[in-house]
Assembly symmetry: C2
Homo-oligomer: 398 residues x 2
């Protein structure tokens, strides 16, 4: 057991996203707390899941097939994978897990309701993430903070993007208004006005992301491809204007914020619908049009729901790795400067994991990280559950 430097913590942030086919893990040095926080990312790695595990997660995502005993086992199994990823990342970074102070985990979402449902005579919103953090704490000895979304749903009902607080710390600017646009499985935006304060942030899910694009590619290639690598299929096709207009009429895109995408709302079911409805359109054109749908739902969100069009858009998530999508986004937002988060020293695929590392660090400091302006909650709350590791006694003193 070592002393914790009160000014700096070595934090691992991890996120499991089906669309990413694995665990995104980043190691960062985090100095300070609140608006004084400074972050230095050290190493990012993606840990792919085996196809058997991806299949098990697919089962978990279908409520009609996901039994409690199966979910319980999957929860513990994913915990082991998070633990192994953390240990490997620390080793690769030349640090050693025993010198890591804190681990933040955003587990695999297997359910998220956007409407109240009835159970036992009560009506409630709910959310459900798995990847047992006590397994990670036990295997590594390190204190873990996890399950960030539950607190947000408890406070705000519908839940909302978790990233606004972290986006603010990472990307705010004194003289530029900025939209931090994540395009992961689904897409979400954090709008930070120029010289903005925390209570002026606007954040919501913009709609579809790579989960829909991947599902369309998977179905069209009969399972041969899991995603449109380098946007090649989309670039070989032409956007079908009629189909695009039709897609843009999706109720979620029309909806006023605060809003969060529902369970599998932009997933395999919508992909199946699209493919059967537009069976006379070529596969390449379908992929091109669905890619444009992601870009245009972003533009529409900005036009309708942001206080003004941002000076800069900073794209993160796997979407930033798709040149066809980035090009369509540039075309859709001609007067806006478009960056990847990489341009700010943050690997686009590591951004969400880095935000989770920040949320973990702030939880340990006792600092609220949910934004009422983004979530509609009455007051800010500390997000995350703290699982005390062997270093908790020293850590809690910070």
């Amino acid at each position: 057991v070592k002393d914790v430097d009160t000014k700096s913590l070595k934090v691992i942030g991890m996120v499991s996203e089906v669309s990413a086919s694995g665990i995104s893990a980043v190691l960062a040095e985090i100095h300070g707390t609140g608006s004084n926080t400074r972050v230095e990312p050290r190493l990012y790695q993606n840990y792919p899941l085996r196809s058997k595990m991806l299949d098990a997660i697919s089962v978990a995502l279908r409520p009609e097939e996901s039994r409690a005993d199966f979910i319980a086992a999957l929860n513990f199994a994913l915990g082991e994978l998070f633990a192994a990823a953390a240990i490997d990342l620390a080793k690769e970074a030349g640090v050693g897990i025993e010198f890591v102070d804190l681990i933040g985990i955003q587990g695999q979402t297997i359910w998220h309701s956007t409407e109240q449902t009835e159970v036992g005579g009560m009506w409630t919103f709910s959310t459900f993430q798995i990847g047992e953090p006590t397994v990670v704490s036990e295997r590594t000895g390190v204190t873990v903070v996890a399950d960030f979304r539950a607190a947000d749903v408890a406070a705000s009902c519908r839940g909302a993007p978790l990233s606004p607080y972290g986006d603010f710390l990472l990307f705010r600017s004194a003289n530029r208004s900025r939209a931090v646009q994540n395009i992961g499985g689904i897409s979400s935006v954090t709008y930070i006005p120029s010289g903005g304060k925390l209570d002026q942030i606007v954040a919501f899910d913009t709609g579809p992301g790579s989960m829909l694009m991947d599902a369309v590619v998977f179905l069209l290639t009969e399972g041969k491809k899991r995603s449109d690598i380098d946007g090649k299929l989309a670039m070989a096709g032409t956007v079908n204007r009629v189909m695009l207009s039709h897609l843009m009429e999706h109720p979620f895109v029309q909806k006023r914020p605060p809003k969060a995408v529902g369970h599998m709302e932009f997933g395999v079911q919508l992909a199946e619908q699209i493919i059967s409805q537009w069976c006379d359109v070529s596969p390449e054109d379908i992929v091109a049009t669905v890619t444009a749908f992601v870009a245009h739902s972003v533009r529409r969100s900005y036009e309708r729901w942001l206080p003004k069009m941002p000076d800069d858009v900073i794209v993160s998530g796997v979407g930033a790795r798709n040149p066809a999508l980035m090009q369509k986004l540039s075309e859709a937002l001609p007067h806006t400067k478009i960056y990847r988060s990489d341009d700010f020293g943050i690997d686009a695929e590591a951004k969400e994991a880095l935000v989770i590392a920040l949320l973990a660090s702030e939880a340990i400091h006792g600092q609220p990280t949910s934004l009422p302006t983004a979530t509609g909650a009455q007051q800010p709350v500390i997000l995350g559950k703290i699982i005390p590791g062997r270093n908790y006694k020293e850590l809690k003193g910070i």
Copy 2:
């Protein structure tokens, strides 16, 4: 926000048990930490669940019917009920929830595996408790510690009784060896040698408890009674010796510790088996015999697996409220002094909730509360996940 007295915390402990048909909640003043801990229980109340909610929990207990979306909603609904119970208990105690420092919650177990199961190509033990603690933290503003069993399963695989550490603090004696025997839904013992140290404790589940007795009564009365109130049915019957011998051959009773009762191992399925197998035995005799089964499985456990027969047995749980069971226990253990925990100032039905309050307090102090001797784990771990409330920043300073 008030200052936290570093020497004393007002802690609410809560437990949900189907057999108790509700939430057991206790408010206690806890002074100090580790072996210096001193506990003053203030108020105990049971909050019955409505029959619609009990029915929903019954569905959750049957893996083949329990879907992920249903479980997610039930998790949040039970969170609301825990929150309401905590707020009411504080009010009834004349304290006000804003003066409570900490809440400990042992949620409803809906799954607990005692064998490894395969998922996604991995083998794992697992456990699953519900009653979302972030809802409790959000509604009360108070920091919550919950989900104690997960850490124990992560560390020891099979999991074990959670109560040994708390039982030690509450009941150890300088000159008497003691068995703290809880008879809740299932039954478990903590053996504390005279003048004993923490590492000399033996603890394991002894077998059946009120879940089996209640299920038998429910089935025999065709749902008219949910339990054998005051042991009246058992006292009207005679123990069937042949049936008792047969029941005592149950593999769990024969098994060597460390051991934990599996999911519904002594529940409605066994009750159905018993009733169909012994259809020529009168209902009263069946209830008398099943009651004797609980008492004799306790005696057999002591004879076989404790280092010596204890000087004192201290009974807690709803079982302590059943005079027929207490009488059968006295007959089965003729050379041992039998107490109820009430004799030590601790309401028998409040004991488990009080232990949870103690575990919560110790987690906040960063004090390990699992006992490797009881669980078979390699090292002690801090049990529980900490959900920071609005008082966490002050609380973590203790």
